[in-house]
Point group: C2
Chain length 240, copies 2
């Protein structure tokens, strides 16, 4: 067997793992989209579909992780290929957790069913969901294109998601303080918002791995963020 043969087998393995990561990313985005729809429409059928879909995502994640570890064990890759392997393991874990958050959001729609809607909250949740979906899409595109500029833009965008979350949190707090009958719905919707914010964190984590893969550097862990406890006017933020 020639060296060339070995190398091209290695390249095939890398390409196959990369395709699995792309598919995982696509599954996570679909799950997120459906979960938020289920939540806003109080649609239990969509919610059930998201919950069932998470099993498939978990399975593909396990397969991809196993294939990646096998590659690591058999090929002992070095330099950029080793960073690829390490980045893929982290990215897989992030996407698996995104699927879990989507599942949590979908389940929450079942609990929300009987509770009234809080004016304006649905629209704010949809906007936040669109923003984190875009972050996920961009982080995956950055991974596939080895595009560190795009990755850094995702890391920057997380500040915006945190602000959206804080604004939603304060809105919910106001509803709850105005009328205790809003507390239950407010707490449920707060969990939905928190899960969206955590998907934003995961997209950021993926983007950081893209920078690591391409450059060997991990971006500064102290990401730009709003002051996590009080906004400039002294009101409480939910950021955590």
């Amino acid at each position: 067997m020639s060296d060339k043969h070995i190398v091209s087998g290695f390249d095939r393995d890398l390409a196959s793992i990369e395709a699995s990561v792309a598919q995982l990313g696509s599954m996570a985005r679909d799950a997120l989209h459906d979960a938020v729809q289920a939540c806003i429409l109080r649609d239990t059928q969509i919610a059930a579909r998201v919950q069932a879909g998470d099993k498939a995502l978990d399975q593909l994640e396990t397969q991809t992780r196993m294939a990646t570890i096998k590659l690591l064990a058999l090929r002992a890759p070095s330099a950029v290929d080793l960073r690829f392997v390490l980045a893929v393991l982290e990215i897989c874990a992030h996407l698996e957790r995104c699927g879990d958050y989507a599942k949590n959001i979908a389940k929450r729609s079942l609990a929300l069913g009987p509770h009234g809607q809080l004016i304006g909250t649905d629209r704010a949740l949809l906007r936040m969901s669109d923003a984190v979906t875009q972050m996920l899409a961009d982080a995956l595109a950055a991974f596939l294109d080895r595009d560190t500029d795009k990755a850094r833009a995702v890391i920057e965008a997380d500040l915006d998601t945190d602000q959206r979350y804080n604004s939603l949190f304060r809105g919910l707090l106001t509803y709850m303080m105005e009328d205790p009958r809003n507390i239950t719905a407010g707490m449920h919707l707060h969990f939905v918002a928190k899960n969206l914010e955590r998907i934003g964190d995961r997209a950021t984590g993926i983007a950081e791995q893209v920078v690591y893969h391409v450059t060997g550097e991990i971006p500064d862990q102290e990401r730009p963020r709003e002051d996590p406890y009080t906004s400039p006017d002294g009101r409480m933020n939910g950021q955590n």
Copy 2:
């Protein structure tokens, strides 16, 4: 250089990484202890110490991660040594996040300052904090002793943490519904409880890596847990 020489250098590297992981675990436990004290005593000095300490934890985590990746690149370990390396990378990430959660709890104590105490909540938070501290200690001991029985006990214990969290969540909800003036303190304390619950999840993640390191199998991801949205009497849980 003889094979023996190479092997003992390798063993030294492994031992050094293991010692760093033990130290990270100890730092995370101290941070957690201090953070909960800061929160209950509303002590801003302890809170500041936790925040400063998190920088040291992050630095050691980065150093340990780098040393582990270097070992992976230079020694191309296989079988149980490869699993050790992969487990260490995951465990480091879990401990770094535990430090972040402790920092969040400490910061929350600053926001709690002016708000009244909710009867019984401090004691429940302390009990929950003791439980997750024990989980962290046991998970680290299981790692150092390669003790899968102890690791599996940690995974089981997470169910208990989830129940404590749910009980605390319902208690806070009751206070908030009784009197809207409790809402702000209730929301802050809920974040503290949520961070403790997430430290429990991280201890569980460490325990899963111990099982992986020793056996090559990842324990079933579908951990035992309470039904996440309603308890048997139909009340809402905060579990997410």
